[in-house]
């Protein structure tokens, strides 16, 4: 259980709060989307979770222990982070060495290390690129390498910053099925995203940050079902939901398949 308890954050003592009285807890095996306008504080929230920033007020707790003072390097034993531009976190000459770096720093050696690396690479499907220079790979593949680096360190929480922006449909699908596979292993994936389509179709929980506070923490359905709720916080409405609203009764359609089924049902054809 990873928790933020009443966390506030500002850069200078008399500055404005970037995040105000924010509380949220993350259990096992969840797929949580964190969203909000640019500048709302969502990236700051993830940075506080990871340890790149320390809360000005409130605490970060893991398994009941207060880890607010722990550095990012200490927290890396249970939490991993993939940047929006993954090539900014890579620096080794091959994928294999990149994935091995974290576990090696944790003290793994020899066969244990090799196994951890091989398993991680296979889990994200980059085993074929093991000897390639990471920064020459396409962005989707780089993301998977970054995820492999985190998995190899046996993290329980994985934060992905805008992983689907700029990806084509195939890459998105691949990423989502990877995230679901990680969920099944008990890893919680926290997704900072603007992609409302993914939020509606695949996430079980969404946190909305607006005006530096937590504005919503619940299911996507509750967020999008009533018109105007998501829009007030600057969020786009997933297209399937928008189309659903045009049908009588405004059924909630979490993806296009649901919408098409709903439409067909209306016409007595299945």
């Amino acid at each position: 259980m990873l928790e933020l308890q009443n966390v506030s954050f500002r850069y200078t003592p008399r500055g404005n709060n970037i995040l105000s009285h924010f509380s949220a807890s993350f259990g096992e095996g969840e797929l949580v989307a964190v969203t909000g306008r640019n500048g709302s504080g969502k990236t700051t929230m993830t940075r506080i979770l990871v340890g790149l920033e320390k809360p000005s007020e409130g605490i970060v707790s893991y398994e009941g222990n207060d880890i607010s003072a722990e550095d990012a390097s200490a927290r890396s034993r249970f939490i991993g982070y993939v940047f929006q531009q993954p090539d900014r976190q890579m620096f080794m000459p091959t994928v294999r060495e990149e994935v091995a770096f974290g576990p090696r720093m944790q003290g793994l050696t020899g066969k244990e290390l090799d196994d951890a690396v091989e398993n991680a690479m296979r889990a994200v499907d980059v085993a074929e690129e093991a000897d390639r220079y990471p920064r020459s790979l396409p962005r989707g593949t780089q993301q998977r390498v970054a995820i492999a680096s985190a998995i190899a360190m046996n993290i329980r929480y994985l934060i992905l910053d805008e992983p689907t922006s700029g990806q084509d449909g195939n890459e998105k699908k691949r990423l989502i099925s990877l995230m679901n596979a990680l969920r099944k292993q008990g890893i919680t994936v926290i997704l900072v995203t603007h992609d409302m389509d993914i939020v509606a179709s695949d996430c079980s929980r969404v946190i909305v940050i607006a005006d530096h506070e937590k504005a919503y923490d619940g299911t996507p359905e509750n967020l999008f079902a009533s018109e105007g709720k998501a829009e007030q916080w600057g969020l786009a409405v997933p297209s399937s939901v928008a189309l659903g609203r045009a049908l009588p009764g405004s059924p909630y359609c979490k993806d296009m398949v649901s919408f098409c089924n709903a439409y067909m049902k209306l016409h007595g054809r299945e």
Binding site: S165, E171, A236, C260
Partner: protein
């Protein structure tokens, strides 16, 4: 001058990289040689000649012309003269002249001579070049200083042979790592292949159909790559078009856009068949900087295109290069900044701008040259939905109000649908479909090519239509779709 009627028969080849690659690499190698020369320990009183070894490596790697070889070696000679302890160091100029010719000969006219995986050429080049260079040097020394013949024949010449042997040993140790570094940095571009740069300046080429850009039978292969990046592409862009080029990653979108700008093949090298006409000119007959006045390119990593510190300086940069007066520069900067809604920000430092503002700055800088065509390579890859709609609203305005032709490589088709009048679908280098957005999206759906990119809304319409439903208006936007659905539901 030869007139070409059928451009599909044209072939243009070029080595990758700019014209001065031989210079930068040689300079680097000579600097390394100088350092090694100064710190090198001697073995049994002999040291290999590091200057000769490093210029051999530079010449073998970059294959410069004989004139360029002599240039390289004269610089090497000068460096040797400055650090020489010989009685008559100026003989170096003559010896390295000979060395230049020998090394050039090995680079151009001697095949790699492989034994297993390794080429024997570096060893031979090192040996023979040093032998010839050394021979010339000591002979001049003998004549000038008056060394007795027996000493010359039985003492000094064998010493030259020993040094040559030493060089034969060290040259491969310098050459192979350098070549490996070369290849990994330049992708898979092979170094041994002899690519002769084509020259089209004597041909008369005319585009066969009207359009501000005409791509005719274009096929293109990157240097050293096996497969074609583009195959037999025929596409014309008319003035005022808003053309969206789409396709999966690796389909050839960037290559196609670079071909429109002339960077393919002039900058990237490789082999090009067919021809691209931009602004009426063939891209192989016009320099990239001349083409830049017709076609403005904004890359997806737009920050990389910003070279100055403030907004005003960035705007002035290109205009100064064109020789405009300060008043003219000010006027054009203001106009361009107004077009992208960055008015009044001339004094702002680029580092304080947001990503979206920086992108607009690059667009403004490109607009200042008043091109006819704007080319965007995946401009929205790192943007949030608000940013994407604002961006295309600006581009759409430039297209409609300022008459700029726009070509965009894009995955986010739903964002461009309100503005695009044409789509083009690429798949593994082939142009599979081209026409109105609806025509191409239907093709993508029916043939399941890159169907993931079809906006979900439009895809839903196609799916429902397949089940026999009928809608008034195509689902090109959320509001259109909602209206059509409401009407269809009411009607039934």
């Amino acid at each position: 001058m030869q007139k070409i009627d059928d451009v599909s028969t044209l072939v243009f080849t070029k080595a990758r990289g700019g014209k001065f690659r031989w210079l930068t690499i040689s300079t680097l190698m000579l600097a390394i040689g100088m350092l090694l020369h100064l710190v090198s320990p001697s073995v049994f009183g002999f040291t290999p000649n590091w200057m000769i070894a490093t210029y051999c490596v530079a010449i073998l790697l970059t294959k410069p012309s004989y004139r360029q070889c002599i240039g390289i070696c004269m610089v090497a000679a000068l460096m040797e003269v400055f650090t020489s302890k010989a009685a008559f160091p100026y003989g170096n100029f003559f010896s390295e002249f000979g060395g230049a010719l020998v090394a050039g000969f090995f680079a151009h006219s001697v095949p790699p001579l492989r034994v297993g995986r390794f080429s024997l050429r570096p060893i031979l080049t090192g040996f023979v070049t040093t032998l010839v260079s050394g021979f010339i040097f000591v002979t001049i020394l003998k004549v000038v200083v008056g060394i007795p013949m027996p000493v010359y024949l039985y003492g000094i010449l064998p010493a030259v042979a020993m040094v040559a042997a030493g060089n034969a040993a060290i040259t491969p140790f310098l050459y192979f790592p350098a070549r490996h570094l070369f290849q990994t940095m330049n992708g898979e571009a092979a170094v041994d292949e002899d690519v002769k740069d084509s020259d089209h300046s004597q041909l008369i080429l005319k585009q066969s159909r009207p359009g501000v850009i005409s791509i005719e039978h274009l096929s293109y292969t990157y240097p050293g790559m096996e497969g074609e990046a583009l195959h037999d592409i025929n596409l014309a862009v008319e003035k005022g078009d808003f053309l969206v080029v789409t396709g999966a990653n690796g389909a050839g979108k960037t290559s196609l856009l670079m071909a429109m700008a002339g960077a393919v093949p002039q900058y990237y090298g490789g082999t090009m068949k067919g021809m691209v006409f931009t602004g009426g000119k063939a891209v192989t007959q016009t320099s990239i900087s001349d083409l830049a006045s017709k076609v403005g390119v904004i890359l997806s990593d737009y920050s990389a295109q910003i070279v100055t510190l403030t907004v005003g300086e960035e705007m002035a940069f290109t205009l100064e290069n064109h020789g405009y007066s300060p008043e003219e520069i000010k006027k054009r900067s203001k106009e361009a900044l107004a077009k992208v809604r960055l008015t009044g920000l001339e004094k702002r430092e680029v580092s304080t701008l947001s990503g979206g503002q920086r992108q607009r700055l690059v667009v403004a800088a490109v607009l200042a040259e008043e091109p006819e065509v704007l080319i965007f390579d995946e401009p929205t890859s790192a943007m949030d939905p608000e940013g994407i709609s604002e961006f295309y609203e600006m581009v759409g305005r430039l297209n409609r109000e300022n008459g700029l032709t726009v070509v965009v490589a894009e995955h986010h088709l739903e964002a461009v649908l309100p503005y695009a009048n044409r789509f083009a679908l690429l798949d593994r280098g082939h142009l599979l479909s081209e026409g109105t957005p609806e025509q191409v999206m239907k093709f993508m759906m029916n043939h399941q090519v890159y169907a993931n990119a079809i906006p979900d809304i439009y895809k839903a319409q196609l799916v429902l239509e397949e089940e026999g439903c009928h809608f008034e208006k195509p689902f090109l936007s959320v509001s259109d779709a909602q209206a059509s659905i409401a009407r269809a539901v009411k009607g039934e």
